[in-house]
Amino acid sequence: MMEPSAYLILSGILFAIGAVGVVARKNALIILMSVELMLNGVNVAFVAVGSYLGDPTGGIFAFMVMTVAAAEAAVGLSILIAIYRLKETIDITELSVLKW
């Protein structure tokens, strides 16, 4: 069995890319995708550790995360559609009525 360190580093990189994406991008859809990337980074870590330990928990957790991610994506996309319908943009810098 392979040491999970490499996978953990990979997961960290994925997570970081996703996080930076969330912070840096202005398109809400891409932010959503960045979040998905972060979640996938998490999944990599879970699966790698689970398989290294021979423990099913990691795999199960990854499945759970995927399920949740799917549900989130569904809700998220519908919110985006609703926004687009009202405002015809999903640029988050223009979606700042609520502030201060």
Binding site: R25, A28, L95, K99, W100
Partner: protein
């Protein structure tokens, strides 16, 4: 009136109770009967509903209303009753052996807390007996006089309410058995003085003068209060008898040092300067002449202002232990005497002349006390009460005759119109000038002699006092000449109404005139072959002081027995020389007055013109009031405004509001972080996460 009472001293409280009853009765009358009549016509009587109807002026008729008659009876009657009780008490006191002539009647415990226990108790002893007789006696006469003098006054009942209240307070002052009670009366008479000076409160000058009197007195009271604290924490009591009794023991144990005694007595003397109008706190007394003239006579001449002398005499044992204080008292007394006398020279207002004269005479009394001649001080207090009350009442009679005019420059030749007033006042003037045989002569001469001969005295003090005596004679005769002699300068309109006063006013004048003549005879000094009953009477009071002083001296100069009584024992030929000198000085003063105001009436104006600056200085009372105003009052008021603005408004509140503002604007800035852009929010989260994880790992 009370029948053969076995012990009149059990009824001492009546001396206070009678005036108090007068206070209550007159107060009720003033409130119930008189108040509605005094309201402005358009809305009196309907105060509950706020809007009275028009017309209906039923308060306007001129008959004497019944309540005024009642007041006119009650007020003097109560004082007379008190006088009778006082007289009976003193007679009984006199029948007791000299060494046990101290009667204390305890009424109830007043304040008790921790170590302090003060009772409302009355103490009758030779000193207070002199005082109560003077107070009730002269007081009664002035009450009678007032009934006539104030007969045109609308607020008649209120006046007598105040006047009776004054009598009550004054009697408390002199009868109280402890310093605290004296203080009660002390402040009480201050209150009445305030009320009576400002009696005509619609006059701004009157209410200002009243306030000034109270406040200046308070400055003195400040000293009195602190003196009491020192007495209490060192003697453990405020009762006279206990304080006196504990002096030897405390001297022995080294607690009562000259330093402590000096501190106590100096503070007390601060109080005395306030009440008795000595330098530097005399300024209120001339202004106090804004009050009705009987008030000036009663309060600002005969009784209240002498309270300071009474206090010093009362505390003689302590004063004797404090040579420095004694010196101070004597110097201040002498200085006040000459200073005030000089201010009396140029005054045009008849009452103001008398006011400065009072200040000056009070200076004599303090001079006496300061040289250890307490008896002489008290003696002069008494005689002064007679002739100064007489003079004031006389001046009141003059003013009455002149329809309120007080400027002597607008008088003259009144002798013809008001003979009784003239003669009585003339007697008073002779008395104050120190013409032999009259009351003032004996007392003043006693003081002059002691100022020279006493171990505390000095020729300088004598000289100053003698010059002051001459000045006194001068300005008093100036007053007489300007008022009663010469050509009439009276306003034509006024002249038509000039008349002699009614009997209710002239009879007290006559009685006082008699007293001004004979009052001094009970204290004829031994040197003149007198028995000096007065000195013997007061001896028990002042014995303690001499003893204490003796002990103190002994402590200083081991075993050197100082013969304190010695000075008075043998007849010094010097006494006669000085006596003659002082009479000569007085006559000289009279002669100058005669020359300037009778022979060459145009001369004074010329002298004034020749020395304009000097004249202005003296006429304006050396600008002392202005100096105080500029030096102290302005400073304090402006300083307070500055304090308030700088500290409260610009510092504390600015800080408080500033903190509030800062917090709030900080809040507004904090809110600005909330840009509304999700990316920024996410960045904040990311940053937070990085910080936390970073801290946790690389801690």
């Amino acid at each position: 009136m009370v029948g053969p009472l076995s012990n009149i001293h059990e009824y001492l409280w009546l001396i206070l109770a009678f005036p108090l009853a007068g206070v209550v009765l007159n107060g009720i009358i003033a409130l119930v009967a008189e108040r509605p009549l005094l309201l402005p016509a358009d809305d009196h009587g309907h105060d509950d509903h706020g809007h009275g109807g028009h017309g209906d002026e039923h308060g306007a008729h001129h008959e004497t209303p019944g309540y005024r008659k009642l007041v006119a009876f009650i007020a003097p009657a109560m004082i007379f009753a008190a006088f009778v009780v006082a007289l009976l008490s003193v007679i009984q006191l006199a029948q007791m052996p000299a060494e046990s002539r101290t009667v204390v009647q305890t009424l109830f415990t007043w304040i008790q807390s921790g170590g302090l226990s003060v009772s409302v108790a009355l103490q009758l002893d030779p000193l207070s007996s002199v005082m109560i007789l003077v107070v009730t006696g002269v007081g009664f006469l002035i009450h009678v006089y007032s009934v006539g003098y104030m007969s045109h006054e609308p607020a008649f009942a209120r006046f007598f309410f105040y006047l009776n209240l004054f009598m009550f307070s004054m009697l408390t002052l002199v009868l109280g058995s402890s310093y605290l009670l004296m203080f009660v009366g002390w402040e009480g008479v201050g209150l009445c003085s305030y009320l009576l000076i400002g009696f005509w409160y619609e006059k701004d000058s009157a209410s200002t003068a009243g306030k000034k009197a109270f406040v200046v007195n308070r400055v003195g009271d400040f000293g009195f209060l602190l003196a009491m604290f020192l007495v209490f924490w060192n003697f453990g009591t405020l009762n006279y008898t206990d304080v006196m009794a504990r002096i030897p023991a405390l001297q022995h144990s080294g607690i009562l040092t000259a330093g402590l005694a000096t501190a106590i007595t100096l503070l007390m003397f601060v109080g005395a300067t306030g009440k008795s109008a000595q330098i530097p706190l005399y300024i209120w007394l001339p202004d106090a002449m804004e009050g009705p003239t009987p008030v000036s006579a009663l309060i600002h001449a005969a009784t209240m202002v002498t309270a300071g002398v009474y206090m010093v005499a009362r505390s003689n044992a302590l004063f004797m232990l404090a040579p420095f204080t004694m010196g101070t008292v004597a110097v201040i007394g002498a200085a006040t005497a000459i200073f005030a006398a000089s201010m009396g020279i140029c005054q045009k207002d008849i009452k103001r002349v008398l006011a400065y004269s009072t200040v000056s005479q009070l200076g004599y009394m303090f001079l006496a006390c300061g040289v250890g001649a307490f008896t002489a001080g008290v003696f002069h207090l008494m005689t002064h009460a007679f002739f100064k009350a007489l003079l004031f009442l006389g001046s009141g009679s003059v003013i009455h005759a002149m329809s309120g005019e007080q400027d002597m420059m607008k008088m003259g030749s009144l002798r013809k119109h008001t003979p009784i007033t003239f003669y009585t006042m003339f007697i008073g003037t002779l008395a104050i000038a120190g013409i032999p045989g009259l009351a003032g002569f004996f007392s003043k001469d006693e003081i002059l002699w002691k100022a020279y001969s006493s171990s505390h005295g000095s020729p300088v003090l004598w000289a100053v006092a003698a010059v002051a005596a001459g000045t006194t004679a001068f300005y008093m005769f100036r007053l007489i000449f300007l008022t009663f002699f010469g050509a009439s300068r009276i306003d034509k309109e006024v002249e038509k109404h000039v008349h002699e006063s009614p009997f209710s006013m002239t009879i007290p004048l006559m009685v006082l005139a008699v007293l001004s003549i004979c009052g001094g005879w009970i204290g004829v000094p031994a040197a003149l072959g007198g028995l000096n009953h007065f000195e013997k009477w007061l001896e028990p009071i002042f014995e303690g002081g001499h003893k204490a002083a003796a002990v103190a001296t002994e402590a200083l100069s081991h075993g050197a027995t100082a013969a304190v009584h010695g000075a008075a024992a043998h007849h010094d030929p010097m006494e006669f020389i000085l006596m003659g000198a002082s009479v000569a000085v007085a006559l000289f003063g009279i002669a100058i007055a005669y020359y300037l105001y009778m022979v060459r009436p145009e001369k004074p104006a010329k002298i004034a013109e020749a020395n304009p600056n000097l004249y202005r200085l003296v006429y304006n009372k050396y600008f002392v009031d202005e100096l105080y105003e500029w030096l102290i009052i302005r400073r304090i008021v402006n300083g307070s405004v500055w304090l308030w603005q700088m500290f409260d408004v610009q510092f504390i509140d600015a800080m408080v509001n500033g903190v509030a503002k800062t917090v709030r604007s900080a809040g507004d800035e904090t809110r600005k972080i909330q840009t509304g852009v999700v990316g920024n929010y996410a960045f904040s989260i990311l940053l937070g996460a990085v910080f936390i994880v970073g801290y946790l790992i690389w801690r």
